[in-house]
């Protein structure tokens, strides 16, 4: 096994034989992007290789000319960068999110990027691919993180609506990925009325719809600086980014019940500090049991942990006889958790 050709560098994970970086933090000549969240998909690279969905979201976010060359590499396809074979597999994190599969010198390394195993109607499920070295995140790398069934959380949200009649149910969620997943889960739970959106949600939702994800009837709360009348929003679900909670915008809603969907909501002190009335434990990252289950399925000879709470994961790897090390990459935020 040869792992010398992949190393953590200041700009991110560097693939030496391809002169490329995975999710680089600063502009580089060749960037391979796992998914379109802002901390992973930054502007200014000359060439970008990513899935079609990731490229589309990047174009919408950063402008159509965000890179000189854009190379589509879809799930199951591969291309050669010199002697290195590059492939993609679904990561289950958000639409278009991919694990980067690298084969070089008889060694297969997979950088999984952000990933999850829980059900998500808006993206392809994570596909376990056997490899020598598995590079994992550890956002929720502590045994206290055991996410409930997302549909059970949605059932709580629907119960909340029944309890607080006449109030708008304002759900704060990351605009890309989490919001669309919540909408799709609400649809799955039988909510087929219009869902109302903060302006920041419109663009990402449109892209999901263009890629064939059915989100049902959506409507912006504000058009041309005019808000919908309060009585129309009473008893309705309104989705907004977390920054909108408590804002002037939110005060236009009829007595909104503030909710937040995030894996961090599992820790009550943290949920309470965010000043919300109803926390929903719904995350786009693998929880503790899923991190361990994934390692069991992928069966790598070595585990590298990029960022998050790596100490506990390293400890658990050691207990399983897995060789593990922490890369301690910085610059990847956890807002989208």
């Amino acid at each position: 096994m040869d792992s010398s050709w992949l190393r953590p560098a200041a700009a991110g994970l560097e693939i030496l034989p391809a002169r490329a970086f995975i999710d680089p933090l600063r502009p580089v000549d060749l960037a391979i992007i796992t998914h379109a969240h802002a901390d992973h998909a930054r502007p200014g690279h000359k060439q970008v290789i990513a899935t079609a969905q990731t490229l589309a979201i990047m174009a919408a976010r950063l402008g159509p000319d965000f890179a000189e060359t854009k190379t589509v590499l879809d799930y199951g396809e591969s291309l050669m960068l010199g002697d290195l074979r590059l492939g993609m597999a679904p990561a289950g994190h958000i639409l278009g999110s991919a694990q980067i599969i690298m084969d070089y010198n008889d060694t297969r390394i997979i950088a999984a990027g952000d990933y999850k195993r829980a059900a998500d109607p808006t993206c392809q499920p994570f596909q376990p691919v056997p490899c020598d070295i598995f590079i994992t995140e550890a956002t929720f790398g502590l045994p206290v993180f055991r996410q409930p069934d997302p549909l059970a959380e949605i059932a709580r949200l629907l119960a909340l609506r029944a309890r607080f009649q006449g109030r708008a149910i304002l759900v704060a969620a990351y605009a890309l990925g989490k919001a669309q997943r919540l909408i799709a889960l609400l649809r799955q739970a039988g909510w087929d009325e219009t869902i109302y959106l903060h302006g920041a949600m419109l663009g990402p939702c449109r892209i999901y719809q263009e890629f064939g994800v059915d989100l049902g009837d959506l409507q912006p709360v504000t058009t041309d600086r005019k808000s919908l009348p309060a009585d129309q929003l009473a008893g309705q679900f309104v989705l907004a980014p977390p920054s909108a909670l408590g804002s002037r915008w939110a005060r236009r809603l009829p007595d909104p019940v503030s909710c937040m969907a995030s894996g961090w909501m599992q820790v009550r002190a943290r949920a309470r500090q965010s000043g919300i009335e109803c926390p929903l434990v719904i995350s786009d990252h693998a929880d503790w049991p899923d991190l361990l289950a994934t390692l069991d399925e992928v069966r790598p000879r070595q585990v590298w942990v990029t960022h998050g709470r790596e100490d506990a994961l390293l400890h658990a790897c050691k207990q399983r006889g897995l060789d593990a090390r922490a890369l301690r990459l910085i610059g990847y935020e956890e807002d989208s958790a």
Binding site: L142, P143, G275, P279, A312
Partner: protein, 528 residues
């Protein structure tokens, strides 16, 4: 247990007092006895299990998880009960959880070993929220922002009663409060306080404005000094002698020397003062006593206190509260004859005031006396009414530039104080869209003693609800009396007023937050 864990979580995240109140009311309406009473007792800290302490939870957690993983998790979560609840293995199958009452009654009878087995057994069939609620209940650290007062208010609102009716009989009740609910739901008579040394809610005054003072017919009022001490109530009955703070806390152990003459039974309203009746000492001296939970003989001798009696509520079998003040005062004057020798009780003097001019002269006189806070004007015809009824009692403060405000935010100080929360933002009440709300009116970081500062710091640490950079938002429950030089209008402040040179005058541990001042009271001081 399922509905109790739902209540706890609802209260934990409830954004304000009204929202908490609505959760409590729903719980009282939907929950059968004795579960609702046990729940109420647990919320207000009246329910503790001697054998269930943090150590026991730690042992259970250690047995159920890897020690290193537990340590890392505890480090991150920061709360023992919550860490244990979250890390506990998920049950293969959820069993219907036991009723709250079954849990409480079993834990009350269990020794340490049995308690550990019981809890471990229950945890094994509960979901994470129920596990959290169970561990919080068992260790007695619910911390969901429900004061005793709020709990009693929720009972009053749920059953459409006056809070004073509930407050008065509360000391007679014991969890799970069956006698209370039996009365409220018409199955039995109201619990009777006769013969019991219990707290009766005090009668409070409204501030007197200049215009109102000129309108009063002084001959209809009894005028007294308003002493700068601590308002208390002394109760003596078959079951003993007790001293209560104005909010009803039992402070007997701190002032054991305050007793009525041997054999006398009844309830007196008065001001606790430092020194002797003929040589009253400063509020600072009293503060030293108020800071101590117990007083031995030496402290009693070095720093004596006495009770200056304002009013008579009960004597023997007779409830004097229904009678007019003039009758109560006449009876007090008869009684006072027997108090003189021991020096621990004396009677508040009635001042001769017949005209507004005479009132003015007295106000001028008390401006130069630091021991007097102002004056009280009490309608002679008034019965003794619990709470703050309108149109009966008025208070006029010598130094109008003081206000009782609620501590809302705290921040660490600088230099010597950088390890302590010493910079405070305080607020007054105003009418908000969702009922009364606090609005910040002043920042203050001086005027307290080192000892008070340490107590304030401890309060902040234990009551943080939110963090904004270096600023900590705290549970809105502690009142401080601020002194300040003047009040000005200010468009830069959300409250529309700015206090000049605000500083702490006293930390009012005894005063409930809902009795802090309202913004209009402070606005009325503008330009003074």
């Amino acid at each position: 247990m399922k509905s109790f864990s739902g209540l706890l979580e609802g209260l934990l995240y409830a954004p304000g007092r009204n929202s908490k109140l609505s959760w409590l009311q729903d719980w009282l309406a939907e929950t059968p006895d004795p579960d609702r009473g046990w729940g109420l007792a647990a919320l207000t800290g009246e329910l503790t299990f001697a054998h269930v302490k943090a150590g026991l939870v730690r042992e259970l957690a250690a047995a159920a998880s890897d020690p290193e993983l537990f340590a890392l998790s505890y480090d991150f979560v920061g709360d023992l009960a919550e860490t244990t609840a979250l890390i506990w293995p998920e049950p293969a199958e959820l069993a219907p959880p036991p009723r709250l009452a079954a849990i409480v009654e079993a834990l009350q009878q269990a020794n340490r070993q049995q308690a550990a087995e019981l809890i471990s057994g229950w945890l094994g069939s509960m979901d994470a929220t129920q596990r959290w609620a169970l561990l919080k209940l068992a260790t007695g650290g619910l911390r969901v922002g429900v004061s005793g007062r709020l709990a009693r208010l929720s009972v009053a609102t749920a059953f459409d009663r006056d809070i004073a009716e509930i407050e008065e009989i509360w000391p007679l009740l014991e969890p799970p409060y069956r006698a209370l609910f039996d009365w409220l739901e018409g199955r039995s008579d109201r619990p009777d306080a006769r013969g019991r040394a219990v707290f009766r809610p005090l009668m409070l005054a409204h501030p007197l404005s200049e215009e109102a003072a000129e309108q009063l017919d002084m001959t209809r009022y009894q005028t007294e000094w308003k002493w700068d001490g601590a308002r208390v109530e002394l109760a003596a009955a078959e079951d003993g002698v007790r001293l209560f703070s104005r909010s009803g806390d039992d402070i007997t152990a701190a002032f054991p020397e305050i007793v009525p003459p041997a054999g006398w039974q009844g309830t007196l309203d008065g001001e606790l003062l430092a020194g002797q009746p003929d040589a009253v000492a400063s509020f600072g001296r009293l503060q030293q006593r108020l800071n101590r939970k117990k007083a031995g003989r030496k402290l009693q001798a070095d720093n004596p206190v006495f009770l200056r009696v304002y009013d008579l509520l009960i004597e023997g079998e007779t409830d004097w509260r229904e009678k007019p003040l003039s009758a109560r005062r006449a009876r007090l004057e008869q009684l006072a004859g027997s108090w003189l020798p021991d020096g621990r009780l004396d009677l508040s003097e009635v001042l001769a005031v017949a005209t507004p001019q005479e009132l003015d002269e007295l106000r001028a006189a008390c401006r130069s006396d630091q021991l007097i806070e102002g004056m009280m004007l009490k309608l002679k015809d008034s019965p003794y009414l619990a709470g703050r009824p309108k149109g009966h009692w008025w208070k006029w403060k010598r130094d109008p530039l003081r206000a009782d405000l609620v501590i809302m935010y705290a921040q660490r100080g600088h230099g010597r104080r950088s390890s302590l929360y010493s910079d405070f933002t305080l607020g007054a009440w105003r009418d908000g869209a969702d009922g009364p709300e606090l609005v910040p009116v002043a920042k203050a970081y001086s005027g307290f003693s080192d000892q008070e500062l340490r107590a304030l710091d401890k309060f902040v640490r234990q009551n943080i609800v939110n963090r904004f950079g270096p600023v900590r938002e705290v549970e809105k429950q502690l009142v401080a009396e601020l002194a300040f030089d003047s009040v000005q209008r200010s468009s830069r402040h959300r409250s529309g007023v700015a206090l000049r040179f605000p500083r702490f005058h006293a930390v009012r541990w005894d005063k409930p937050a809902e009795e802090a001042d309202w913004l209009p009271t402070i606005e009325a001081l503008i330009g003074d």
